[in-house]
């Protein structure tokens, strides 16, 4: 441990270690060269996260949210992809680590819950044994002790009859139970950072409510920092302290949850909020969809990635077609990537939200 620390200290370049936040993603890009051309999956994204907080990354398929998570987990194969930038976790730059060094961190400092528990668990091995393997990769515990710890963890995550379930095979468990096993596996080494990639998308709402609550309870208890990747704005509203909205491989808006929901400024965020059907309010008449389709990561638009679908792109005098907007501060902790002047953006938001409220007869 000491050896690794001293080695990483050498690499610290700009900020002194004490001032750096718990997680700091700095100008990270990921691209995959393919036969059809370069797929830009993540395009220069930066954000920071303090310990114990929850960041939600929202976006559609292909927006780069999962690749961002994989980059933090060090799961991107450098042979087939280009990764650049810095990912500082606990004062260690994860991008610079070798795969052996990353493996030592993975599970212990960063752990991940995947969307589909069935494809993330090995069908031939008992679930208990799979977790014990993850445990013994990091700690020197004997088989019996390890098993006891797994049973304890199963009880904590709400798996009934835990003593029997540790000997079950994945196919013998229901979807909700499998997802709990995944969570138990992710938490067994009490990681500092937990990344949940669409953890409930494959589950029913009643089970989803159980899982979300479980993650929140465990977070409260262990002080875990959580990155929740989802497309469900309801879950974001439920769990997140901060929200990063991704579109076309970039973060287009970043801010505290309340700001993102009540005073969004990027037309894409606004479009998302006004286009989703609502369970809690009666929306009279038609929804206001975002026209068109998300861009292909093979050929991202040249200027603003959202410009081809943006109702207000014409108001930038062609700027959004040609010049790439930067993610600039717009308020406290609030960053927006948009060419429209701040006043114009705020006026548009006010108008759209007012129209929306008028259409809701409740």
């Amino acid at each position: 441990m000491i050896g690794r620390l001293t080695r990483t200290v050498d690499r610290i370049s700009t900020t002194p270690a004490t001032e750096r936040p718990f997680l700091s993603v700095n100008d990270v890009s990921v691209s995959f060269p393919t036969e059809d051309g370069l797929v830009q999956a993540v395009d220069h994204i930066s954000f920071t996260l303090e310990k114990g907080r929850t960041l939600a990354i929202v976006g559609e398929s292909g927006s780069g949210k999962s690749v961002t998570a994989q980059a933090i987990m060090g799961l991107i194969d450098r042979k087939t992809a280009n990764v650049s930038g810095e990912i500082w976790l606990n004062d260690v730059d994860l991008v610079g680590l070798s795969s052996a060094e990353m493996q030592a961190l993975r599970g212990r400092q960063v752990a991940m819950i995947f969307q589909d528990p069935l494809s993330s668990l090995h069908p031939f091995y008992r679930v208990g044994d799979q977790i014990i393997e993850a445990m013994r990769a990091h700690r020197n515990v004997n088989q019996r002790e390890a098993k006891r710890e797994v049973v304890d963890m199963f009880k904590r995550v709400g798996i009934p009859a835990a003593e029997r379930r540790v000997d079950a095979y994945p196919h013998q468990l229901s979807g909700g139970m499998r997802q709990r096993v995944m969570i138990a596996m992710a938490l067994i080494n009490s990681p500092d950072l937990l990344i949940a990639d669409e953890p409930t998308t494959a589950l029913d709402v009643t089970v989803q409510a159980q899982i979300i609550e479980l993650i929140q309870d465990l977070q409260r208890e262990f002080g875990t920092t959580v990155i929740m990747i989802t497309h469900d704005l309801g879950i974001v509203a439920d769990v997140a302290d901060e929200v990063a909205v991704m579109y076309g491989a970039r973060i287009v808006e970043l801010g505290p949850t309340e700001t993102i929901f009540n005073e969004p400024e990027m037309p894409y965020t606004l479009g998302l909020l006004s286009s989703i059907p609502r369970m809690d309010i009666e929306v009279a008449g038609r929804l206001l969809p975002i026209p068109g389709n998300p861009p292909s990561p093979l050929k991202l638009p040249k200027g603003c990635v959202f410009a081809p679908r943006c109702r207000y792109a014409a108001m930038t005098n062609g700027l959004s077609e040609t010049v790439r907007p930067e993610l600039l501060p717009s308020g406290p902790n609030h960053f927006v990537r948009c060419h429209l002047p701040i006043e114009t953006r705020r006026r548009i938001t006010g108008e759209v939200l007012a129209t929306l409220a008028a259409g809701q007869n409740q």
Partner: protein, 389 residues
């Protein structure tokens, strides 16, 4: 019991009423799948009661939303209504004609009236056929020659659903998910059916595309007067498109009512639980809602609980629920509930508090595994979260 509903359907979303012609009537519909033992001589050792005696009607130009968790039987019910799965018992009338006794050949003319849109637009289209071939298939199968020829008709429909008619000769892989779903919709509306069964038509699509498809389905309904049976697990989507909603659980309908009643004045404990489980995209409200978190999973449909099928997870469950199956009764016009102890929205907080108190007094689990959940609520099958200040 007196329940006041001061709820009227108004606004542009109201169904094309007046001509309340029934397009679908399913009566005591049952679809059971046999479970066979392994071995040289397989015997039937039980039945999966996927759909176990449901009644539903859909009027012309109306959308009935069918919601429920996975395993509730909603998809089987939808498929049974089109005779894609043969029901075990009960009758299905489409446009006044009982179709359960018909042979596959006799069903052909019925298929012209009743079509289907599938969940996965990637698997529902033959990748080796062009869009033109796919959308013109209904004309060829049904031997319909439209005025101006098939190609002309197909291109008309393509334009109508928002596809470029010039893409007639393209293959499905050249389209995005949302556009593929438009192809599926074009195929379904090609012959102007009276009914379209939509099985999770937007759940595979991105959120920004969902709204486009929902709007398209509504526009087509208003233009052609199509009735939809809209099967979905997403309660927000169902609220947007349905006129009436039926809630299914373990093969049975728990509650059925006009949209607004289901979402603002439900009576069945399961409907309450389902609605409270969906997080709403409003941080202030979401964090101050009363939440009912159901414990455990849906029981096996091979051996459903006695009496009310929901009682094992219900906060209202009492002795009577294990002994008597609650009938689906009409408690207000068009509002049907199958529950011995329904709860109004106003009474819900008090009821939940009382049920929590009973649960805290000690685990009364009967025949269930005693759950030892240090992080979860003690005992009981439900956990109630009242807003913390």
């Amino acid at each position: 019991m007196t329940i006041a509903h001061d709820i009227t359907l108004n606004g542009p979303a109201a169904p094309a009423s007046g001509s309340a012609k029934e397009i679908v009537r399913a009566t005591q519909l049952k679809t059971h799948f046999p479970v066979r033992s392994r071995g040289i001589l397989p015997r039937t050792i039980g039945y999966v009661k996927a759909v176990d005696g449901i009644d539903l009607t859909i009027n012309a130009g109306e959308t009935l939303g069918l919601v429920g968790e996975s395993g509730s039987g909603k998809t089987t019910a939808a498929r049974s209504i089109l005779m894609l799965v043969r029901p075990t018992a009960g009758s299905i009338e489409i446009d006044g004609q009982d179709i359960t006794k018909l042979s596959p050949k006799q069903l052909m003319p019925v298929r012209r009236k009743a079509q289907m849109i599938f969940q996965d637009p990637y698997n529902a289209l033959n990748p080796r056929h062009t869009v033109g071939t796919i959308i013109s298939a209904p004309f060829k199968v049904q031997n319909v020659v439209p005025e101006g020829g098939i190609r002309h008709a197909v291109q008309d429909i393509m334009k109508r659903v928002g596809l470029n008619p010039e893409h007639y000769n393209r293959y499905p892989n050249e389209f995005s998910g949302g556009q593929r779903q438009r192809i599926g919709i074009a195929r379904a509306v090609a012959l102007r059916p009276k009914l379209i069964v939509c099985d999770e038509p937007v759940s595979a699509l991105d959120v920004s595309i969902q709204a486009q498809i929902i709007n398209l389905l509504r526009d087509l309904q208003q233009e052609f007067g199509i009735a939809y049976l809209f099967v979905a697990h997403d309660l927000a989507v169902v609220r947007q498109i349905s006129h009436r909603v039926s809630v299914m659980y373990l093969g049975k309908i728990m509650e059925s009512a006009p949209r607004k009643v289901i979402y603002t004045g439900p009576l069945h404990p399961y409907t309450h639980s389902l609605l409270s489980a969906v997080p709403i995209p409003n941080p202030e409200e979401q964090r101050h809602r009363t939440r009912i978190v159901l414990r455990g999973d849906v029981p096996s449909p091979i051996d459903p609980p006695s009496g009310c099928v929901f009682r094992t997870r219900c906060f209202q469950a009492q002795q009577k629920c294990a002994e008597e199956v609650p009938p689906l009764i009409e408690v207000a016009p068009d509002h049907l509930v199958a529950c011995h102890f329904p709860v109004t929205v106003d009474d819900l907080p008090a009821t939940l508090k009382e049920s929590q108190r009973r649960a805290d007094m000690g685990p009364q689990a009967e025949g269930e595994e005693a759950l030892d959940l240090p992080l979860a609520a003690p005992g009981g099958s439900t956990e109630i979260h009242t807003p913390h200040a």
